[in-house]
Symmetry: C2
Subunit: 429 residues, 2 copies
């Protein structure tokens, strides 16, 4: 049976918001479950992790931590061709993220006042890699490589064990070439709790990264209240394609399907000013769909798929910025000009030969990206995600003579006498 | 009566953590109150804001928004000397934050693959400025100036009205010279709700900035669950001073007192390798305390003040990094060397003539900084806080031929056939 996708024509700017509304989730419904797990991990430490892994993953762990030798030798169990592919991707990811490293520049504010901002690595970071049907080794590369470039001192990784209690060798291999040595076979909210609060065998981390199911997501939201930072809020994956007459329908269809296979809640939207391309893309979707292994997931996801026709390209751009997609493909003649007007998006793919899956794996950009409209305010994971910028200032005796009066006046007006006094006492000297 | 501050000598590295533990707050205790306020604002919009302002601030608002003319004419009610001081501070803040603007650099990953990262302003930002005993106009400068440099399109400001329903002219003046035109006289969790969800007269924002009381802080934590970003978690203000024999006890005392006057829960810690300096500083604190206007707050805050002596400077550094202070003064001979080993801090002040209050107002660095140990993972507010970095990639036909196989292999190993297919279909062409 074919998937029925209708073309929506020229929606008003007002209705775009409703049309592109993501399914609403009640952010609070998991709170109690999460808090119970947190409490157990805080109280019982490692034992709680072992108990939860038995309950949720059906696995009796002998040890929480993977032996380093197992990571070292993981290559023996991974096809040479896949090893090479992972290595190529790693080089590209390393290259692009290295280009994001910023220099410290001292800024002479005025005579005797020098300020600078220095990027200092976050010392301890925790990376969560989800389990499930397939080993997401690409996420290991995307998180661990920038963590290493940034200079994070301790990198720990958490991932749920497979049904037989082991971790996929490809995942361990990706960890190996990304320089990760501490891997724990724990998943879910209990993994987040272990990273946030620590246990007798695990040191707490300063920031937690990585995708996960709704428990992991809710737990990451919750730990922020305890002062632990997270990379970004997470939601179902999304793709928006902007296409005009130069787009190749078979390509667009393949990109939309690649997004749809992520999960039944994946969001796929096409905006176009060309009805013929829209129709051909829908046909191509139905055509290509037949041969996919994850057909059922794709069909479920496509139920919420939208194809929207706009006569006016300007309105297409407004719609894209309003939606703030995680992934945005621009398969249009003026792709570079259109790219300039992108205000909200996670990662942008330009032209007919830049499929989303290229960025998912190997162009070098990060695939950990803001979903659910978070691209309006959040960046995807990048080098900055693994550092904090500390400001420094040095004022000389001459400097304080110059700026002193300004500070005194402002402190006095804010009724902060002791603030004023800290300057006055220096001016008097 | 004198304030009793004892010197703690050479605590073990283990006990430092306990010694420097901040008072624990139950992050959940306000949740229900906050949710009720959110619900009311979502349901009743502007009317809820007016009702809450009557209940919590005791003010009957005629209008939620300040007339632009009132902002324009605010200078008439502010002393010329204060106007000038604010203008000088604004210039320095503008200078330092402008130096943080980064250029987009295109990165040639390999032949046919180009990636770049572009800083794009967050379109709509909301700035919260607390009310209370004094008008914190300096916070207006610290938030609105970088927002403007970053290019944020809409900047709205919320601040609770004074008892007479008006806003302090100095605050309006600071808004004026920072380019803020939309100011609402609403405070508390209801202001956060209005910024996050919008009302019939207020457009929702993408990110919320600024300090506030525990209601504002809890509300900011909560809105993150609804996809609204915030600058950082907030807690009581903190100062740590590292001092050796070159430190001037009167100066150190004045800095510690300036921190203590913020509130009874302010944290003040001194680390030193010189007992004489420690004793003289404690004497100077008691001496200077007498003349302060906020004596009672200071005395209350000093109850938790710690002065810790270390024979070994290395241990001082470990203690400082473990504490991760919001403000760190280094009044030591080797200040620049010590500064190099700072791993966790919000803002650092070097030498005897760089009091914390200089950075609070006028050196140009931002005073919106991570507290409560958040400096381990969070930066203070800077230009990056007002932008997101969007990644772009362009792969040519030749580029996909080169990288295609790599992507296919990885996608296949992750069992994502449609991801693979998006590349295969292009390679076939």
């Amino acid at each position: 049976m074919e998937t029925q996708i209708n073309i929506i024509e020229n929606p008003s700017l007002e209705s775009i918001k409703d049309l592109l509304k993501r399914p609403l989730e009640d952010p609070g419904f998991l709170d109690n479950a999460i808090r119970d797990i947190f409490l157990a991990v805080k109280r019982k430490g490692d034992k709680a992790l072992i108990d939860f892994t038995k309950t949720f993953d059906g696995v009796e762990l002998k040890s929480l931590k993977i032996e380093e030798s197992e990571i070292e030798e993981s290559g023996n169990k991974v096809d040479k061709s896949l090893q090479e592919a992972i290595a190529v991707a790693a080089v590209n990811i390393r290259r692009f993220h290295s280009s994001q490293v910023s220099e410290t520049v001292k800024c002479e504010i005025s005579e005797g006042i020098t300020c600078w901002q220095k990027a200092v690595p976050i010392q301890r970071v925790g990376l969560y890699i989800p389990g499930g049907s397939a080993p997401l080794f690409s996420s290991v590369l995307m998180l661990a490589i920038p963590a290493n470039i940034a200079g994070c001192k301790e990198i720990v990784m958490f991932t749920p064990p497979g049904k037989d209690g082991t971790i996929d060798p490809a995942l361990l291999f990706a960890a190996k070439i990304s320089g990760v040595k501490n891997i724990y076979t724990v998943g879910g909210a209990q993994a987040v709790a272990a990273m946030a609060f620590g246990t007798e065998s695990i040191k707490p981390v300063d920031k937690i990264f990585g995708p996960g199911n709704q428990f992991v997501t809710a737990a990451k939201q919750e730990v922020q209240k305890y002062g632990v930072a997270i990379d970004m809020p997470a939601g179902p994956s999304e793709l928006m394609v902007m296409a005009d007459e130069i787009a190749i329908p078979e390509f667009v269809a393949s990109d939309m399907l690649s997004q749809a296979e992520h999960g039944p809640d994946s969001q796929v939207v096409m905006l176009t000013n060309n009805k013929d391309i829209a129709k051909k893309t829908i046909d191509a979707i139905n055509n290509q769909l037949k041969d996919l292994s994850r057909k059922d997931i794709v069909k479920e996801s496509l139920k919420s798929c939208k194809v929207i026709f706009f006569s006016d390209i300007k309105e297409m751009i407004v719609a894209a910025n309003e939606y703030a997609p995680e992934h945005l493909i621009i398969a249009m003649k003026d792709k570079n000009k259109i790219a300039e007007s992108v205000l909200n998006a996670g990662s942008v793919f330009l032209g007919n030969y830049t499929p989303e899956s290229a960025g998912d794996y190997a162009t070098g950009t990060n695939h950990t990206l803001p979903t659910n409209g978070a691209a309006k305010a959040y960046s995807g994971v990048n080098i900055d995600s693994f550092v904090k910028k500390i400001t420094f200032q040095e004022v000389t005796k001459e400097g304080i003579m110059q700026i002193g009066k300004t500070i005194e006046l402002m402190a006095e007006a804010e009724q902060l006498t002791a603030h004023k006094n800290a300057v006055s006492i220096r001016l008097k000297q």
